[in-house]
């Protein structure tokens, strides 16, 4: 087996970003009039700056509809950008057109939220994989069949599955097929968009362990999107918390859940039900409504729902504030809260 490991394993000593986003905006026109300006914009990605370090698995959590998928798709240039820059391995790719983007496509892949919908129902697994393999220059077209089998074996599927159609697989298997497809192009970077949220825990565990194995084997970089905090810790070393189109906190995953620095992170954490009947707890309830992405609250987007808000929060948007290397938080009063221990568990 000739593993297509082209990059020599980098020592994690010098973490350098594989992808870096700078003030990225991706807005959608909500009511496009016949002529004239768009009146309302939906702003699922609103001024995001973030580095994804080579070889890491970055988690992205946040409530449903806050813009996680859009961010993932924006990085892969699957959704039109409004402004900002994206660098991939140092190359700016935010303004490349479709053909200029072609060489980058195989290197960045995505596993979509809904595995069934992301596989063409009229194509069998072989064709699905072949389609991606064509883009992998290192594989001779003659060997596509063997390569497909190899990919399937990577994701724990058997050769006879090659000739089946997506609908003949269970959700978890479909998810694995899309992972196989993502791997077929020999990518450096994969976005997992809630790749496990539709699955039951057993199947979810299956997919996650697969992801981890592959990451080690092929030294891949992941962006792992989910709104389930419990699996974040399993999968990711670093986690970004997203709220209403913005990233409010980035931290080391263990630290994040032990000692959140942003009130929203804390609220999320409190609301997670723990699968242990002996540790029944009062689930934290976040008051207020999910903000509209078209007109997010002024100042800190989270302030209407924050227990610790002060006047400043309503007026001024907090700037990111570095707490550790590669970690930062966007809250005016995070230091104060930290000192008070207001966000600690009781």
């Amino acid at each position: 087996m000739s593993a297509p490991s082209t990059t020599t394993a980098h020592a994690a000593s010098m973490p350098r970003p594989l992808i870096s986003l700078d003030r990225l905006h991706a807005w959608f026109a909500y009511d496009k009039p016949f002529w004239g300006k768009v009146k309302t914009w939906i702003k699922p990605v609103n001024n995001i700056s973030l580095d994804i370090i080579q070889g890491e698995c970055l988690g992205l959590v946040g409530e449903s509809g806050c813009g996680k998928s859009t961010l993932g798709r924006a990085i892969l240039r699957l959704t039109p950008l409004t402004s900002g820059t994206i660098q991939f391995q140092g190359h700016p790719i935010e303004s490349l057109n479709a053909s200029a983007l072609k060489p980058f496509r195989p290197k960045m892949q995505m596993v979509f939220q809904d595995p069934k919908a992301s596989l063409n129902p009229r194509m069998n697994v072989l064709n699905i994989l072949k389609e991606a393999l064509v883009l992998n220059r290192e594989v001779d077209p003659e060997h596509h069949l063997e390569e497909s089998v190899r990919l399937l074996s990577l994701v724990d599927l058997r050769p006879e599955h090659l000739f089946r159609f997506p609908r003949e697989f269970s959700g978890g298997q479909q998810q694995r097929i899309s992972i196989a497809r993502a791997l077929a192009t020999n990518p450096r970077f994969i976005v997992f968009d809630e790749a496990t949220s539709a699955l039951d825990v057993s199947v979810q565990a299956q997919v996650i362990s697969l992801m981890k194995t592959l990451q080690h084997q092929l030294s891949l970089t992941y962006l792992f999107i989910s709104h389930d905090l419990s699996i974040m810790e399993q999968v990711c070393a670093r986690v970004a918390v997203m709220y209403a189109g913005q990233i409010v906190e980035v931290q080391d995953s263990t630290a994040l859940f032990n000692a959140p620095r942003h009130p929203y992170t804390k609220a999320l954490k409190d609301a997670v039900p723990i699968a242990d009947p002996l540790h029944k707890k009062d689930l934290g309830v976040l008051k207020g409504e999910v903000p509209k992405l078209s007109s997010p609250p002024k100042g800190c987007h989270f302030h209407p729902r924050c227990d610790f808000r002060q006047d400043l929060c309503q007026e001024q948007e907090p700037a990111p504030c570095e707490t550790d290397p590669n970690s930062w938080v966007k809250c005016h009063f995070h230091e104060q809260l930290w000192k008070q221990g207001a966000l600690k568990d009781h």
């Binding site: 983007l101 072609k102 496509r105 939220q113 129902p121 194509m123 991606a132 063997e146 090659l162 000739f163």
Partner: protein, 299 residues
């Protein structure tokens, strides 16, 4: 390696075989519905009649149009099962020969319309930009234009004849396919698998033909089947106005037209082809319906 490959080929064969079995099962289930089976039998018989017209019609030369003046306007009898027309030709033979143009023409119209309309619909559905809008505007233009008028006008230009009738009908027909396909494409193009293909960096044409086309084929095929009836009727309508098939050939519509003035006395001249047309169209309809149900439930 080589062994592996033969192994894979074997596996492919096995999988294909199984797949075919499933298809066969679906077909059987479809035919188990009595009406669909009956419709299919009628259609097969009609096809056979059209194909083997010279051999199965009692008076093939009359079927082709030779007049038989001595036996004009005879009612159905044991010599002429369905009677004779104003030129004394055997109605049965005429109807059998008439099926040729009706059925061939019908198929020709819908297939050509699909061949024109489907790619345009795919393109227009996938590119909602200038080209797509343009196509849809043209489609709307055609749809808003009375199709019978188009048909007639074209027949008038090219001269009446069964082939011009067919051309004249294809022209107002294709926009319906474009419309159907465009709608379907718009509804599936945001599916994740299309996005996945874009993620891989494939261009429009690849996506259109590899990903969109196979997924809209079912409604198109059903529409083709359901359209065959109307197409046969449409040829008949043009012929009815004297703009379609020309003597001595005949399609069913023309025969109804020719027989209509006699309907009070020699009713069989119009009723026989009219009924034939009605039965075949209904058969296409029922079969198309059944196929639709079968295809819908299997995906």
């Amino acid at each position: 390696m080589a062994d592996n490959r033969t192994l894979y080929t074997d596996m492919a064969r096995a999988a294909a075989r199984e797949h075919r079995q499933v298809r066969w099962f679906e077909l059987k289930r479809l035919l188990k519905r009595k009406s669909a089976g009956l419709a299919l039998i009628i259609l097969c018989m009609t096809f056979a009649a059209a194909l083997f017209a010279p051999w199965i019609s009692p008076y093939p030369e009359q079927g082709r149009g030779d007049v038989n003046v001595e036996h004009r306007l005879l009612p159905p009898s044991s010599d002429y099962y369905l009677g004779t027309d104003i030129y004394g030709r055997d109605m049965l033979s005429r109807v059998i020969f008439g099926s040729r143009i009706s059925i061939f023409g019908g198929i020709c119209i819908v297939i050509s319309a699909a061949l024109i309309g489907v790619p345009l619909g795919l393109w227009a559905g996938y590119n909602e930009g200038v080209s797509g809008t343009l196509i849809m505007r043209v489609v709307e233009l055609f749809l808003s234009f009375p199709s019978t008028l188009i048909g007639m006008a074209i027949s008038l230009i090219l001269g009446a004849g069964w082939y011009t009738a067919i051309i004249a009908l294809i022209i107002p027909w294709w926009p319906w396919y474009t419309r159907l396909v465009q709608g379907e494409v718009v509804s599936i193009k945001h599916m994740l698998y299309v996005e996945a293909a874009r993620m891989l960096g494939y261009g429009r044409l690849t996506i259109i033909f590899r990903h969109l086309l196979p997924n809209i084929l079912t409604p198109v095929i059903v529409m083709i089947l359901l359209d065959l009836g109307p197409a046969i009727i449409a040829i008949g309508l043009l012929s009815f106005l004297g703009l379609g098939t020309q003597a001595p050939m005949a399609d069913w519509g023309l025969m109804v037209w020719e027989g209509a003035p006699n309907i009070l006395n020699e009713w069989w001249i119009a009723i026989v082809p009219g009924t034939a047309m009605f039965i075949v169209v209904i058969a296409f309809n029922i079969f198309g319906d059944a196929l639709k149900d079968a295809l819908d439930s299997s995906t």
